[in-house]
Amino acid sequence: MMKSRLYALALLATLAAPVAWAEDPAADAARWNDLRQALFANQALTPAKGQIALDAPDRAMDAALVPVTLTLDATLPVKTVYLVVDNNPSPLVGTFRFGPAAVPSQLKTRIRVDAYTHMHAIAETTDGRWFVTERYIKAAGGCSAPATKDAQLAMERLGQMRLKTVSDGPAGLPQGAVTVQLLVSHPNYNGMQMNQVTRHYTPARYIRDVTVKSGEALVFQLEADISLSEDPAFTFSYRPQGPLAVTVRDSTDATFSHTFGEGGS
């Protein structure tokens, strides 16, 4: 995976920068074809019919904070979910690997979208099946636009976390499963905002890895890149097997850990 990701980055470096406001179906199809080859070369991706669904606003109100919902067929043994925003500078937004405590039913997060783009969500099952779904989103500037509203607060609150119980989570969860929302305070600087005076870019500092365990059992591990929004949020379902332990590692190798008790505090 890591290797194919490097290929993807190298490939993208050779492609012309996507035009933010143009809709060009042929170019979009070619781009997805390139990405698919680079990221999932050996897999046949079956167009999903309910196995995985991707929901996002048609037109984002804030391109630096686009809410995304992934819905999975709860009867399917999903092992990994990949989220790809085709026209982002780093298209693979995140790879979610589920553990034994997960209930892979619904995932929600918030991302940056840099240009009008197709998005793809890919589900990989434990028995080697792959499903893909796509949707189009109109949003632009989410990666290069300023997102930080209060720079002082962003650093003061760096690494803090919140856990909220979601009462109206997905329907049909197995008995005992709960749905929660995890908030992580992190500016997620993606290194794309250039300081005109110094001609330097604001140094990138973004979340690379989020590991969530319930007791000793893994709920999910997320490998992320520069496209998560500032102060990312994750909504997911799991079977509690003890306190929820969250470890977040960013691109400077700073690590933030927090354990939430059974009550969710």
């Binding site: 500037g141 509203k149 209060d150 607060l153 919140r162 250039m194 300081n195 949020a233």
Partner: protein
Amino acid sequence: MVRRTLIRAGLFLIAAAGVALPLSAWAGALVQVAAGVYVRPGALQDASAANDDAIANIGFIVGRDAVAVIDPGGSAGDGGRLRVAIRAVTPLPIRYLIYTHVHPDHVLGAVAFMQDHPEVVAHARFAAAWGERGAYYRQGLARVLGGDPAQAGDALPPTQAVDTTADIDLGGRVLHVLAYGAAHTDSDLTVYDDQTRTLWAGDLLFEDRVPALDGSLTGWLKVLGQLKALPAVRVVPGHGPAQLPWPVGAADEERYLATLCRDVRALLKKGGDIDSAATVAQSEKGRWKLFDAYNGRNAITAFKQLEWEDPS
């Protein structure tokens, strides 16, 4: 009659400057809201090639010895026309440029004042904020105006960073510059003129055009309370008419921000997620221009801040 003369003068100035520009942007031109305090109200629109980003309220204050420009305009052309207008009012040196905050519609005209070598007064956070945002703003505006980065203009770097207060002496007239924590943006400052009890609020005050939240909602409400306590009799808003009576001129914005805050907290309390945030503050729809363009975004910004509050 006075107004017509002003308009004629404005047209004349435009011709004299040889600047090709949409006349509508300067129609009405300057309004003297108090002795020596001049405001050019901006169009209540988003930036376009037609308005040359002359969309913010900009202007200047004249003292005995010097002039202070408060927000030099939204583009090189906007700043250039402001400079021509100043020269028609007074030959005094333009010694100060004051930026009320980091947004491009207020500062990109600064480039037109380079020849005056002014002191550039801004919030202590301005330089860093402009560092992160300036290039993006300039590119965005250049695209709107037709592709020429020179037309978009630029900010001049601050020479005086204000973290709390600063006094600016124009000769017999002292302007009090006050800096705030995150509110409309995280680089807001106001200018208070004792002599005429005029508060220049920048974008801490919107009227007619829906407020745009790019800082802290609770911070903004708090700062608005502080501003209301100042002994000002009039205010110059960042968008809207050239002046409003103070503090009653705060009422519309305060109602909008309080509604946004109350509705987002209510949404959070019932467990709503950010994807339904745009449904808030609909009671304000119809009261503001550009409501649909900004309210949803404001709601997301507000939600993102308030979701970190401790539950009440």
